[in-house]
């Protein structure tokens, strides 16, 4: 197999090649490190690289495979979003606040993937503290979309999405609080799965909004997402919100036969805010699923619009509490020459956090403050239940729900950064899924003017299998997920 075809091969394909000995993990690791050397100067997807450690892990993975003890992921290179704590490797959350933070422990997700033998190439860029939809709030600079470097990759897992889309790594981890896996997956033309809340341990994932955060795989195919999800998932004594639900072998259970599957199409996802081109592309994807034997059912999620207001109370409120730990005392950025303790707190925090993070802390503090708690935080939690009930009712009629993952394709750098409200609308189709705690996935569904667009699939709680099956079926019938960006144009 040529070097070029290695770059965009799926995990399943690379795994088969490792198994036959066609390629070794050390060779794969060298190959992807070279790709990063060659292209990441234009993309800026990596914050930290760890090539030396990666080669040592690759060597160990090759030995493990030769002793007959391999899993499908043994020896496969990976990048972790820089929100996952990695013992001994800087974990910045793309913030000046944590620019000097080298965690003394690893996230459960990282430990689990280490244990099956993945090879960590480095830590990838993101919006600061996962707050953003364009990867423009990173302390380490914006990430370019490999399909057009003048455009954003989406966010907050923009580095993960861009690295996979550019063939710099076969897969990456991401986290999704309001759409941060699915929206960048849509904008970069890859497959991104946000599991059910509780499916994956949050231990060691730097907290943004604890009742919404969930980690998931960002891959080329639904089959790869199935492989990775099984390895990431499971109850963890270190996360008391992780769910005591059995983890299936999602890949073994993959079934591309979706005849009779009832797919709900929410009318609110196709209103006047959605451009004609996006609507047409999504309808064409739905028609493909219908041709595969699924049945499309019109449904209503009446509080879709109010989801934005609900999310922008609950997420900042939880963030303001979570980010109170950054006080300049125990770890993270500390200002120079503090006059007194209050000065230490205020200057360390104001110097350490960027504008969007400070904005959300302010909104969250306001929503939780005396006199406003009932009007904002409690009210938002009540509307959250109404939104969750909308989904429950819809799932009485259908097996999954489908629609756009984002309102449009990748936009230009700077186009939305000046106005936080415009940016917040990027997540209009994704954030209610987090409020309801459901699994959601974006799969490549077509192109508009050369830019990829994702179809979002939303499932019942803990029914990731149906999402994966539907995605797998779609990818058996289409080639959108096999499209590659023009790397010569990228570097031109």
């Amino acid at each position: 197999m040529s070097d070029a075809s290695l770059s965009f091969a799926s995990i399943a394909e690379l795994s088969a090649m490792l198994e036959t000995g066609e390629v070794s993990s050390v060779e794969l690791t060298r190959h992807f490190c070279n790709r990063i050397d060659q292209y990441d100067g234009c993309i800026n997807s990596f914050i930290t690289r760890c090539e030396e450690q990666a080669l040592a892990s690759a060597l160990a993975a090759d030995q493990r495979r030769s002793s007959g003890d391999a899993t499908p992921l043994t020896g496969i290179p990976i990048a972790h979003k820089d929100i996952f704590c990695t013992q001994g490797i800087k974990t910045s959350c793309a913030s000046r606040m944590l620019d000097n933070f080298v965690p003394p422990y690893s996230a459960t997700v990282v430990s689990k993937l280490d244990a099956v033998g993945t090879v960590t190439l480095g830590k990838v860029n993101m919006d600061e503290f996962a707050m953003g939809s364009s990867n423009e709030t990173s302390f380490y600079g914006p990430v370019a979309n490999p399909w057009d470097r003048t455009r954003v990759p989406g966010g907050s897992s923009g580095g993960s999405a861009a690295a996979v889309a550019a063939g710099l790594v076969p897969f990456a981890t991401g986290t999704d609080t309001g759409g941060s896996i699915r929206q960048p997956a849509s904008l970069c033309g890859i497959t991104g799965l946000k599991p059910t809340y509780g499916r994956v341990s949050r231990l060691g994932i730097i907290a943004f909004a604890s009742s919404l955060d969930q980690a998931g795989p960002m891959t080329r195919t639904a089959e790869d997402a199935a492989i990775v999800l099984s390895a990431m998932s499971g109850i963890d004594p270190g996360d008391s919100t992780s769910a005591d639900v059995p983890v299936p072998d999602f890949r073994a259970l993959l079934n591309a036969d979706i005849r009779g599957l009832r797919i709900g199409v929410p009318q609110e996802y196709f209103n006047a805010d959605l451009s004609v081109e996006v609507g047409d592309t999504i309808h064409a994807a739905l028609a493909e699923l219908e041709a595969a034997g699924a049945q499309l059912v019109d449904i209503s999620l009446p509080h879709t619009h109010e989801g934005i207001a609900t999310y922008y109370v609950i997420a900042p409120a939880e963030a303001s509490a979570n980010l109170s730990r950054y006080d300049g005392v125990r770890f993270g950025h500390r200002c120079d020459n503090p006059i007194d303790l209050n000065d230490l707190y205020e200057r360390s925090r104001s110097e350490g956090f960027g504008d969007e993070v400070q904005r959300r802390i302010l909104v969250g503090t306001y929503a939780l403050s005396a006199g406003f708690y009932d009007a904002y935080f409690k009210k938002a939690q009540q509307v959250r239940r109404i939104i969750a009930n909308d989904f429950k009712q819809a799932f009485e009629q259908v097996d999954i729900i489908a629609g756009p993952a984002a309102p449009g394709v990748a936009f230009k750098h700077g186009d939305k950064a000046a106005d936080p409200l415009t940016m917040y609308m990027e997540d209009v189709y994704t954030l209610s899924v987090n409020l309801a705690g459901l699994p959601g996935m974006s799969i490549p569904a077509g192109f508009i003017n050369g830019l990829p667009l994702g179809l979002q699939l939303i499932g019942k709680a803990f029914d990731e299998q149906t999402l994966l099956n539907t995605g797998h079926c779609f990818q058996q019938r289409t080639t959108w997920h096999r499209s590659q960006p023009d790397m010569t144009r990228l570097t031109a």
């Binding site: 003394p104 009742s211 006080d327 993270g332 239940r385 109404i386």
Partner: protein, 95 residues
């Protein structure tokens, strides 16, 4: 409901953030627009609706109150800005 720069400065003080005087007008304007957005919540009738804090209405598991970890103070303090003999150093609080 509109917010004033004084309101925002007070919230910033609660959040231990320092907003430069020159930025306060701008921060207040954006803050006000976000409040306008979230005020759409008040269009929804939530009479008798129980607030939802966990999407699966799960309560958190408890474990027996026993020691499960060994002392890792030195390791955990290795990332601290200023420590001495196991203590975190901060500016003098009491004269």
């Amino acid at each position: 409901m509109s917010v004033t720069p004084t309101d925002v400065a007070q919230v910033a003080q609660l959040a231990r953030l320092k907003i430069q005087d020159t930025a306060l007008e701008d921060v207040t304007e954006r803050f006000g627009r976000i409040l306008d957005l979230v005020n759409e919540l008040h269009n929804v009738d939530t009479h008798n609706v129980e607030p939802m804090s966990n999407p699966h209405d799960m309560t958190q598991r408890l474990r027996p109150d026993t020691v499960t970890e060994t002392n890792q103070r030195a390791q955990l303090q290795s990332v601290s800005p200023a420590v001495e003999e196991g203590y975190f150093l901060v500016p003098k609080v009491i004269d």
